[in-house]
Symmetry: D3
Subunit: 245 residues, 6 copies
């Protein structure tokens, strides 16, 4: 893969990824994550207790909300609070983030505690949902640690089963490429978001033919690329979590 | 695959699928489709003209709305009209249906016409979104035919590029299975919806680990199953459209 | 009355009425009812218990919701769930159905149980509200029977006091006519919906001058016609309920 | 009919009815109307022009909105603006008022002008919808006069075909009674609202069995009572309109 | 200050203020207040008990809602209930009224009781928020008296610490003026609402430069004017409350 | 004033104020502003053209929207988009920011262009509305410059008349203090927000007695403090704008 892209990357290269852990002075866990010019603030809010319908189940709950600041995009988008309703895309992404994070949490080990992950896009340049999942994992890990330190989670419990990250892949002019920036995303014939665990298992695979439908061979090439990218994201997450909090 | 299921099917067997084409006396195209006990009414409404922002583009538009009757489910669900807002799941499925059908329509050939596909679940027993896509295709084909007969579409235009159908697959107790009924769906570790064209290309692949994450080999087995099911669904669609309307 | 109508009926003749009882595999009672081309699915959902404000009253509750599928009408109507609010007409009809059914239920005999009647119009050709009431009665009767079989209602209780049905009447070109189809409804000078019990008593009389106001003699003629129609509807309901469920 | 009531009225007697015409300094027509302790402010707002879909039709439009102040009732009711939606009862009454007033307006003679009738209940003691219709007629008449004076309506046009008023009747302990106060209304077995023109024709008849269903003889007695009451209301309206504005 | 205004007032003169106390037969306290042509109905609804989150606090709660009838204004304004949401201005004024009244209530002395003040504008000609506060105080005082008489408030408790009233001031063509009518309000360069207690202390000062920003000397002149007006409003409130209820 | 505060400041001292100008790569103007731990992202979106009702007026429009991220606060607050409506406080602050910025813009000189200021609170520790105004001014200045460079604003036009900033002041334990942090804000007897121009004139003065009402002398002391603070904020704004963009 020697194809070069607008920003000089090779087809299988991630954009520069940075994670500023503990950005928020208020939240139990937080991360300001960038995938190139895409920037999100991910916070994890820990609450002791669960929604009423889960009372007494001995299990915890993890959920997520995604939103974009009105001027995170190239031209201003109206606020969903002003429109009085949440759009389908926002719903879809919030649900994806929640499912992805729940896949690596042992709800019994979490106990009757709730964690809400808020992923707010400050600047958007493609890949906001994958950056959200990747950053939310770091915020989640810190919030779980906070829960242990404050004795809401048992000392020997291991609520985190694995780590989780996500990356987009797509086919542009016939070439499979990793981590699409916005200008690439709009040109992609096929667009796929892949959520994987640190151990390399799939949590979610969502591939969509935006232009021509794709065949089995193309699907395989995209999955290969994604697994490679996710390995590097896992390393970046580990490095961020290794720093002294 | 010799595993037998609750309803006696083998792992790679579809439920009985029936399509009652032209069920509605009002719509330009319609189909009452059943996948076992799952029943939906799919209608296609043809309108000459497009939304204002597409005026003069020379292209048409296809969109979809999915909804469930309150007592299509085992216990009654509140109406979204009464709640005053549409839930995330409904949004997600409506968008999926729309994208899937657009994948087989040549918008230039459709010309400045709009088709709205309404997929209303009368009875739900798993696989409502895949039945919706499969039935909506039949309604769409008839509505396009109607558009030609009424001269809204040019006589030699070929707006339908391919056919489209969808089926669910999942892993239950380690076994990959085709076309999950509701009782199977809730038990599945991994659940995947696969939308394919009549020619066997992928339009959409959405796999989710509801329980344990899945590996590459499992993913491959699920895709194989889905392609087999979609071949049979394509044949059923063709047979329905071959009947005299 | 020898006046002939577009569909060949005489002025005091109902359209063909059919009731497919037990259409739904999910609901405790259900009926797919047609008045000519008007088709509705009526389901009755039985729940043990009542809304909080009725707890301990020893009485039950019966309520109804009416809705139209977007393409039940000749041209597509936007969904109320998408508009985010329920229109005045829908509210009005839902309330009418609820009041009509409650008129034949002894709430003490029902005990602290709730029945929700959902009347969804699959195809509309005039008289949807009267078909809704007539079909909902059949679904209600079956749901009450279900409640007895499952011991939520006392064995010797008689929650159904009477049967109930409804029919529309109107004055067209000076002639009073029974059971208006859509093309007649829009031309009617006066339009009246009459809800009566199997014993021939009035539950609701709603007459509206759409064109010129009407006099006492016309009002009397309309009531006569309605009572005749309701007698035949009662017989059809009884026949449907006499079949083995 | 010698039955005496809580407030000393005989069964066929109206409560004291007063109309303070021109109460508002802002509206083109207005009336503060009381039926006993029930008080409403009715305003008529005249606008030159019609909704877009009626442009060029040569016809006008008359519509109405009904609302209750939160503390017009005995215990405070939440505002519909705060709840974010309009209830079924409000919708139903607004539509009834609009239909009733339109019945006496010649839309061609009105020309392309719109009149909105706002009926706001300041104090409620039963019969608010009938008082609304009766008062709105006076406001409407003045707004039409205003329209003539300001040349929006042709000088020789006669937009008002007739007058219109409304009154409630009901059966209490077996006795038909006119113009029910709130304490009577809640006890009534049957409750009927009758809208009639000054010439004694029916515009709307809405009878509901709140308790036991009613028979034809009772229905006739209620209609007789209503016609008597409406004759007196017509006289009161005429007297109010005869005063110098 | 010898400047004369459109209505002949001097710059430091209030419009005629009248308070019709006890206007409502339903509410525990009420006042129909006019500031010239501005007219509001203020009601105070007394309920024993407080919102759940205050249970057991031993303290009461006072809150307010402000609204305008659609035709209280010169041209008709759409109802907020119809629009489905409350506008920013309404929210702002409701909150201001609530804060202003709470400033003179000792919540401990009120005990666990709630008072809701509804201020509905029947006719608007500037200064509706200041008239609302001034009238709501009279309604509040009567509702507190009612609470004592009905033993919901302890006999020797003194829930009212002080009285409260409000008045607008503004700068027009360089001259500071008291109690602006609508035509003055739209021309004012600076507009200020001042809420004061009977003892002459400030509860709220809200000054806004609609045109050119204002300097310290102008601010001082406006505050002087407001204090003078509020003294006269206090006297009018006292006189109203001195009448036999 | 030698009183020392929790964070060691003297009563008339601002928290450390920093302005990171041009933080956003998307917006025409932007500033990340901190007042101590309070942090907001302010963006200015420039659009050529004005709302339809201003077409042809030759004037521009400036408006603002304020919002808080759900976890900007110490415990998580539900999103207004999820609640489906905007609260009163949000409305009030958005309106205040809009009015404040409009006070320093010459709408004729701006021409038919629209600027939307979005002020999103990333972290809240008191004074978010004053930081919003102070930061929005910097974003606005850059967006106006952008408008000139892109020829939407005439080269010799001077749309900015003055600069604008805001600061909070309050009385705590009898001592007037500048720029309240959250812990101070909740304890303040009186709380005032003062918006001033760079030339020291008042744009908005909003003082509220949260506890005991305040007298004229206290009001004067607060205004003195605010004018002092605003002088320093003006210097910080100028310094930020002097840097090379």
């Amino acid at each position: 893969m020697s194809e070069t892209r607008a920003d000089g990357r090779s087809a299988d290269e991630l954009r520069p990824v940075t994670i500023e852990r503990g950005w928020s002075a208020q939240a139990e866990g937080s991360a300001l994550i960038s995938f190139g010019k895409t920037k999100l603030l991910c916070t994890a809010s820990f609450t002791n207790g669960v929604p009423r319908w889960m009372n007494g189940s001995g299990k915890g709950w993890v959920t997520a909300e995604y939103s974009m600041l009105p001027r995170s995009t190239n031209s201003r988008t109206d606020r969903e609070s002003v429109k009085g309703k949440i759009g389908g895309r926002t719903h879809e992404i919030s649900r994806l983030i929640g499912r992805s994070l729940r896949a690596v949490v042992d709800m019994k080990a979490l106990g009757e505690n709730t964690i809400v992950l808020d992923c707010d896009v400050l600047q958007a340049d493609g890949g906001t949902r994958t950056a959200a999942i990747t950053g939310a994992y770091v915020a989640l890990a810190d919030a779980l640690e906070w829960g242990k330190q404050h004795k809401f989670i048992a000392q020997r419990a291991t609520p985190l089963i694995d780590s989780v990250s996500a990356v987009s892949v797509g086919i542009i002019d016939g070439t499979p490429m990793l981590d699409l920036a916005y200008v690439e995303d709009v040109r992609a014939e096929t667009d796929m978001n892949v959520v994987t665990t640190g151990r390399g298992l799939f949590v979610e695979v969502q591939g969509t033919a935006e232009g021509a439908p794709f065949d089995r061979r193309e699907l395989d090439a995209l999955l290969d690329l994604a697994l490679g990218g996710s390995e590097r994201l896992t390393a970046i997450q580990l490095a961020a979590l290794a720093e002294v909090g």
